[in-house]
């Protein structure tokens, strides 16, 4: 299934597609318990725009974002990120591709509890082999940009939920990835904190050659999106600058 033409919100310049997905299908289980989660999804997602994937639980949005991020193999279809067919890569090359090109922000942050904020932010750089002191300094610099400079040496448990989410954002951005994928980044935050986090993300993560893809059902932040893709039952059912009607109570 092809997505409808994407909508825009105040964009005068159409960016190049950063993500191209074609005919993605995915099912889990087998026999009587087999569940078809994605039913032939196709879409282009441009760089420079904040794109939301929205839908009810079970609509397939988390599965789709996992496939786009290269952490879940589809049953069929292709995923091209910035011109690279990621599932044509060997497993190790795919891991290296993720490490270099993708930043992750998880719903529960998944920070390492024994590392300071700056050390947590530096994890992708350390994993890539950068000298620890240099990586931590860069992590601290990103935290500074995110307004957490004074908290750089604190452990996650010493930070509020919003601050932890900003550390997670710093970790997702520290290696300057071209794609940032976020899973319900505001789910654990109050409305004000959630909005601040999203504005921050939009400010620092987006660029002419960078894309941000967010899975959310938090309608409090829909107004910040440049494009909203709605999903239902494994299919794209909405694509536009505004949220689908059923998502706005």
């Amino acid at each position: 299934m092809s997505a409808p033409a994407p909508g825009t919100r105040g964009q005068t310049e159409i960016a190049q597609p950063a993500i191209r997905i074609e005919g993605i299908t995915k099912s889990f289980g087998s026999g009587d318990t087999r569940v078809e989660v994605l039913r032939g999804i196709s879409a282009d997602i441009e760089a420079g725009r904040l794109t939301y994937l929205v839908g009810e639980s079970g609509s397939g949005k988390t599965t789709l974002i996992s496939i786009i991020a290269g952490i879940l193999f589809p049953d069929a279809g292709r995923v091209s990120l910035f011109g690279t067919d990621i599932y044509d890569l060997s497993r190790n090359d795919l891991v290296r591709f993720r490490l270099k090109n993708i930043g992750f922000i998880f719903q529960q942050y998944n920070l390492l509890p024994t590392l300071t904020a700056a050390q947590n932010a530096a994890v992708p750089l350390i994993a890539a082999g950068m000298k620890r002191s240099e990586a931590v300094a860069r992590g601290a610099a990103v935290l500074e940009r995110l307004g957490l400079g004074t908290q750089a040496n604190r452990l996650p448990r010493q930070l509020s939920g919003g601050q932890q989410q900003r550390v997670a954002i710093a970790r997702a951005l520290v290696h300057e990835p071209r794609l940032v994928v976020c899973d319900e980044p505001t789910a654990a935050l109050d409305a004000a904190s959630g909005r601040r986090v999203m504005e921050l993300l939009k400010d620092v993560a987006l660029g002419a050659d960078r894309a941000v893809l967010i899975v959310t059902h938090d309608n409090r932040i829909f107004s910040l999106a440049d494009r909203i893709i709605g999903m239902e039952d494994g299919r794209i059912t909405h694509d536009g600058a505004e949220a689908p009607q059923e998502a706005n109570p």
Binding site: I71, L72, R98, I102, F104, Q108, T114
Partner: protein, 378 residues
């Protein structure tokens, strides 16, 4: 990543110290029991170790150990001396006896008769008295541990008398030697005196101990003695192993100690395996996030191996220190006199502990290796 792995490990203090103390306890259990077993087995041969001058022991063909032999005819001595390659050969007697203590109780003792002329067979370290004192009438020297048993309150033994097999014996000194496996008290006397102290038939010489001539291989000389005399002759180290083998095969000691060592391994595997599994389960989200970010399974394995080696080094080090402290602290007592911590045992325990910890670490990490990174989004 090794640094991150260590920070993850050390950050969870309860599990971190649990792992270290689990390994330390396992090391202590295995190391201490293996050390006690080894030292006990070496006591089976302490009678051989005490005679440092001789490198060949000759005995009845049916002899199995220093305390399990049959007497030889006195002619055996001359026959051994007549074998080419023998530098010297002297008689040696080891027999059981009983002594009446100052409290009137009977104590089982071992009487060792050493060569009258040269005193070959007498331990080299004399704690009290002088070697030539043994030439006095009815003179005996007693080992220090045995002396403490018979005269618990005495500080000096010289001049004390006692009844040895109903005969007067005069203590003229004390010697430092390790207790044997079977006897708690050892009396040394001249061979001719020993014949008087120990009743029996006309054949009472239990061993002929000999020295190979310079340039001769003692083992070859022993074979030659066997061929020419029909007696059993063993090179000193071979005889040590024969004694150890005899005690090991005729007692349940190896089995009992083996069970304890096995328990040490099981306790170690259980504690380390369980704690490691809990640690990894508690951090599964973090490991999943690392996999999603771009850490390969190889990287995760390296992290867990780093954690395993770290806790193995610390846990083993602590356990080895506890073991050394135990052996050091008890080796001065009469029960553990002469016990030492063989480096080979601690090296073996190190290999065992490292293999155990690394295998349990690898076992615990299986879940992470199988974990799909997409799980972190669920």
């Amino acid at each position: 990543m090794p640094w991150i792995a260590l920070r993850m490990l050390t950050g969870d203090r309860v599990k971190y110290f649990g792992l270290i103390f689990g390994i330390a306890f396992s090391t202590l259990l295995i190391g201490q029991q293996a050390t006690l077993f080894t030292n006990l087995m070496l006591r089976a041969a302490s009678g051989v170790f005490a005679v440092s001058e001789a490198d060949i022991w000759v005995m009845d063909p049916k002899a199995q150990g220093t305390d399990a032999t049959l007497a030889l005819p006195s002619t055996a001595l001359e026959r051994v001396r007549g074998v080419p390659g023998v530098l010297w050969a002297v008689p040696h007697l080891r027999e059981a006896g009983s002594v009446r203590t100052s409290e009137g109780a009977l104590e089982r003792v071992s009487v060792v008769g050493v060569d009258d002329a040269t005193l070959v067979g007498l331990p080299s370290t004399i704690v009290e008295g002088a070697r030539h004192d043994l030439f006095r009438r009815d003179a005996i020297m007693v080992d220090t541990v045995g002396f403490g048993k018979i005269f618990p309150d005495a500080t000096s033994g010289a001049g004390l008398e006692l009844e040895l097999n109903d005969r007067r014996a005069l203590i003229v000194g004390r010697v430092d030697t390790n207790p044997t496996f079977t006897a708690g008290v050892i009396f040394y006397t001249r061979y001719s005196s020993a014949l008087g102290f120990v009743p029996g038939t006309r054949n009472r010489m239990t061993f002929v101990i000999a020295k190979a001539a310079p340039g001769e291989d003692p083992r070859e000389v022993a074979k030659r003695i066997e061929a020419r005399t029909g007696l059993k002759a063993r090179e000193r180290r071979d005889w040590v192993w024969d004694n150890i083998g005899f005690i090991a095969s005729s007692t349940g000691i190896p089995f009992n100690f083996g069970i304890t060592v096995l328990l040490g391994i099981i306790v170690g595997v259980a504690i380390v395996g369980l704690t490691f599994s809990l640690f990894i389960r508690d951090n599964i989200k973090q490991f999943g996030a690392l996999k999603a970010i771009g850490v390969t399974n190889g990287g995760i394995l390296k992290m867990v191996l780093t954690q395993s080696v770290w806790i193995a080094v610390l846990g083993y080090g602590l356990g080895a220190a506890f073991t050394a402290a135990f052996i050091w602290g008890t080796s001065g007592t009469s029960q553990f006199k002469g016990f030492f911590l063989p480096a080979e045992i601690m090296a073996g325990v190190a290999v065992l502990v490292f293999v155990m910890v690394i295998l349990t670490g690898l076992f615990a990490v299986r879940g992470v290796l199988k974990l799909e990174p997409a799980e972190v989004f669920r």
